[in-house]
């Protein structure tokens, strides 16, 4: 008797203690949901965020990936992130990371393509599509320059940048990049209309070959002017530097006449410098005419930085004399020439001028 009836009854009662209240509450829930539209039911059992999800579904472009910005350490955010991936499928949806990471990639300019949706549990808008301005990469400005420091005893180089915020407060990230130069980004906050000079991003006083570019990213539009300042004792030489936006680079994807490089032994030898600030290795095709002969070469620039092109990259490049150089570079690449006479204080740099289509 105990074994056949009492034991099952005890086991059933022990399970029913938990299940019976659930059955009652489940009955009430089913009864309450009866007749309600599907999305209302989902909101009722899964939370208000699903109403936002419903609105988002019609708002998101079909062919674009969706990046979910949210804190993966928060359980509720994680739940919403996972369920959103499911409910939006076959849209390509991936968790992106917290908001701080989005700001980092905006500053670095490497914002992936697609829509960004922020997950904010516990707020009126649990899922919110971020506006294009909130996710756009910070515009980039580049100040490329070369500083031939070989034998530059007693010469100090530095760059000065004059920045002015236009209409709104702007944060500017500044750093120097190049061979032998790698400064950590420095943040400068400019009030609206404020102008400020920054002269310690790049400074060198030792020998060696220095090649650098100043790279700027600004959250809002800023005006910038730059110059390279060389000092030796009381003597000061200022060389204006171009401030370029990537789209304005003279040899980005087209043929240019770099310069007629008139050289003499006294004036120093021209050298070529390559700038590739893209994420992939880049190729620049070069041809030049010197002494009646035309030479061609393909220059390969490593990704993400600056490089001085080795002497053997351009076979036949004359030590002196006139040279007409034509370049066809990939986007994000820039090649320029520089020289410094052994006795001169400042480096001379030469930039190309667009000549149209490839001949």
């Amino acid at each position: 008797m105990l074994r056949r009836f009492l034991l099952p009854a005890i086991l059933l009662a022990a399970a029913a203690v938990t299940t019976a209240p659930w059955l009652v509450s489940s009955w009430k829930l089913v009864d309450w949901l009866d007749g309600q539209p599907r999305w209302r039911r989902r909101v009722a059992v899964d939370g208000e965020w699903t109403a936002d999800l419903r609105a988002l579904r019609s708002e998101l472009p079909a062919g674009e990936p969706v990046h979910l910005v949210g804190d993966p350490g928060d359980v509720e955010s994680r739940r919403i992130l996972g369920a959103t991936v499911f409910h939006l499928y076959p849209l390509v949806v991936r968790p992106f990371g917290p908001r701080a990471r989005l700001e980092e990639v905006r500053e670095s300019g490497e914002v992936p393509a697609g829509s960004f949706v922020e997950v904010m549990p516990g707020t009126p808008h649990h899922l919110r599509r971020l506006a294009p301005d909130d996710v756009a990469p910070w515009p980039r400005l580049v100040v490329p320059f070369a500083a031939e420091l070989i034998g530059s005893r007693g010469i100090r180089y530095r760059t000065t940048l004059t920045l002015r915020a236009e209409e709104r407060e702007s944060t500017v990230l500044l750093r120097a990049r190049g061979t032998g130069v790698a400064s950590t980004p420095r943040r400068v906050v400019l009030a609206a209309g404020e102008s400020r000079t920054v002269d310690d991003i790049f400074a060198a006083s030792t020998g060696g070959t220095g090649l650098a570019a100043l790279e700027m990213r600004a959250a809002q539009a800023v005006e910038a002017t730059a110059e390279l300042v060389a000092t030796r004792g009381e003597e000061v030489v200022r060389l204006p530097l171009p401030v370029l936006r990537p789209g304005e680079w003279p040899d980005a994807g087209r043929w240019v006449r770099l310069h007629r490089l008139a050289g003499t032994r006294e004036a120093g030898r021209w050298r070529l410098w390559g700038v590739n600030l893209g994420g992939e290795p880049a190729v620049v095709e070069a041809s030049w005419t010197a002494g009646g002969r035309t030479e061609r070469a393909t220059l390969r620039l490593p990704s993400g930085g600056l490089a001085v092109l080795p002497d053997d990259a351009l076979p036949g490049w004359p030590a002196e004399g006139d040279v007409e150089l034509r370049l066809e570079g990939e986007p994000n690449t820039l090649v320029f020439a520089s020289r410094r006479a052994p006795a001169a204080l400042a480096t001379e740099m030469s930039w190309g001028e667009p000549t149209g289509e490839r001949p």
Partner: protein
């Protein structure tokens, strides 16, 4: 309800067909055999679709119909075979070797008809509330579970969208793909249901998961009734039907997890093997098929199948059974090994994304053996939690002690106890090796759910305890 009916037909019909080919029919329809047919249909269709997908067939409407057609053909061939055999032989009440079994319900005697009716009415009344309520819940309340949405059903949608099991989604090239190397039986079954209904709404596949849970209950009940009689079997089924973990906790029949399918395949493989050892008509190769389905249902399936096979072989050797070990052993392990090989071949194409790294766990285990006692305590603590399992596992522990103490039930004690202990030891070892997690957190998150995998062997122990008279465990 459309999804429920579609799933019942899509898997129930071919499953019945295959079982008709593979074993002698019971003679009388029963809930138990219907449940086994459905589960066999899910297992065989899922495995067949996985193999077709691996071979590069596009998983679209026509290919999804292949397992159904094969099942129907198998049923026609099997039915004809048994009809010919029945008409060609004289009466053989005991049935031949390898017979599945006679009726689930036993032969009613006129004197006990009223008590049988009363018994049936009480059992129905007790089973109805949880099953009806969960069905109403499935039909009315949207799915909200974690694993179902994060990967199981998401994989099903991806299979349907890409028509492949190794497309861009599975290679991690599109949406987030967690647990990229999990087996795909249930996602394939879901995709098959969606394909039949021309949709991808999760409402349409919740019936499939509910049916798997209900089929688990009725398959266990059917098997127990054949051996222990109606009362113990029904009592166990009723207790299980009210158990929160099997009903509405994460991993239960209201969620889109694969745990109940794994539990069902493992239980049926275990029952078949146990019947074979006890000389009750089980077949090693049929056990192998169920265990192969367990391998294809979840990652744990391969190890749990190995445990079932290992414990059964030890028990068979201990009984010095007159079986041909090599032939039987080969028949037993052939299908599970083929399932493991198929999974391994598929996994070689799929990068490991946000998934468990089992080789790393195995490597780390020796250094973390000190955590094992704590892991065992945490796991047992989760199983003893009243809100998840009631007193089920406490009763199973008592039943195990009783079975081991009785000579005539010692085989069951060894088989069931050995399987349960080895499986829990395995899970505890995984807990211990999982660095970066608190044991308590792991147990709370998964302990009660993992215990559901062992509900088949546990039910045997419990039914043995509840049986009116001591049952012999074998001939």
């Amino acid at each position: 309800m459309t999804g429920l009916v579609a799933a019942a037909l899509l898997f129930g019909i071919p499953g019945a067909g295959w079982l008709l080919l593979l074993r002698r029919p019971d003679g009388a329809a029963s809930w138990g055999s219907a449940a086994e047919s459905f589960l066999f249909g899910v297992g065989a269709s899922g495995t067949a679709l996985f193999a077709l997908g691996w071979m590069g067939f596009p998983l679209r409407g026509g290919v999804f119909a292949v397992p159904v057609v094969l099942g129907v053909v198998a049923g026609l061939v099997g039915g004809r075979r048994w009809r010919q055999e029945r008409s060609g032989r004289t009466a053989d009440p005991a049935g031949g070797p390898g017979v599945g079994r006679a009726s689930d319900d036993g032969a009613p005697s006129p004197a006990s008809r009223r008590s049988r009716w009363l018994h049936g009415a009480i059992v129905t009344l007790l089973l109805l509330p949880p099953l009806a309520m969960t069905l109403a819940h499935v039909e009315s309340v949207p799915l909200v579970d974690w694993d179902g949405r994060n990967f199981w059903l998401l994989k099903g949608r991806a299979i349907l969208h890409e028509g492949a099991i190794d497309g861009p989604f599975f290679r991690g090239e599109t949406s987030r793909h967690q647990h990229s190397q999990y087996p795909l039986m249930l996602p394939l079954a879901a995709a098959s249901t969606w394909s039949a209904l021309d949709g991808t709404d999760e409402r349409e596949v919740r019936g499939l998961y509910w049916l798997v849970g209900v089929a688990l209950l009725f398959a266990i009940r059917g098997r127990l009734r054949r051996e222990f009689g109606a009362m113990p079997a029904d009592a166990v089924a009723v207790v299980l039907a009210w158990t929160p973990q099997l009903l509405w906790r994460e991993g239960g029949m209201l969620t889109a997890y694969s745990d109940l399918a794994l539990a069902a395949f493992l239980a049926l493989g275990f029952f078949e093997l146990r019947d074979r050892i006890a000389g009750r008509g089980g077949e090693a190769w049929r056990a192998g098929l169920w265990l192969a389905f367990a391998v294809q249902a979840k990652n744990e399936g391969a190890l749990l199948a190995a445990i079932v096979v290992g414990v059964a072989l030890v028990a068979a050797l201990a009984r010095r059974q007159k079986i041909a070990p090599l032939r039987e052993g080969a028949a037993l392990v052939a299908a599970p090994l083929a399932a493991v090989a198929l999974l391994a071949a598929w996994r070689s194409r799929i990068p490991l994304l946000e998934d468990e790294n089992y080789s790393a766990l195995a490597r780390d285990l020796p250094a973390r053996l000190g955590e094992l006692p704590g892991a065992i305590v945490a796991l047992l603590g989760a199983m003893a939690h009243l809100d998840d399992w009631g007193l089920f596992w406490a009763a199973v522990l008592v039943a195990l002690g009783v079975a081991l103490a009785r000579r005539e039930r010692r085989l069951d004690g060894c088989l069931c106890g050995g399987t349960i202990a080895a499986a829990l030891g395995l899970y505890a070892a995984v807990y211990a090796a999982s660095s970066g997690w608190e044991l308590h957190e792991l147990a709370v998150a998964s302990g009660a759910r993992l215990a559901s995998h062992l509900v088949g062997p546990a039910a045997v122990l419990l039914a043995g305890l509840l049986a009116a008279r001591p049952q012999t465990s074998g001939s």
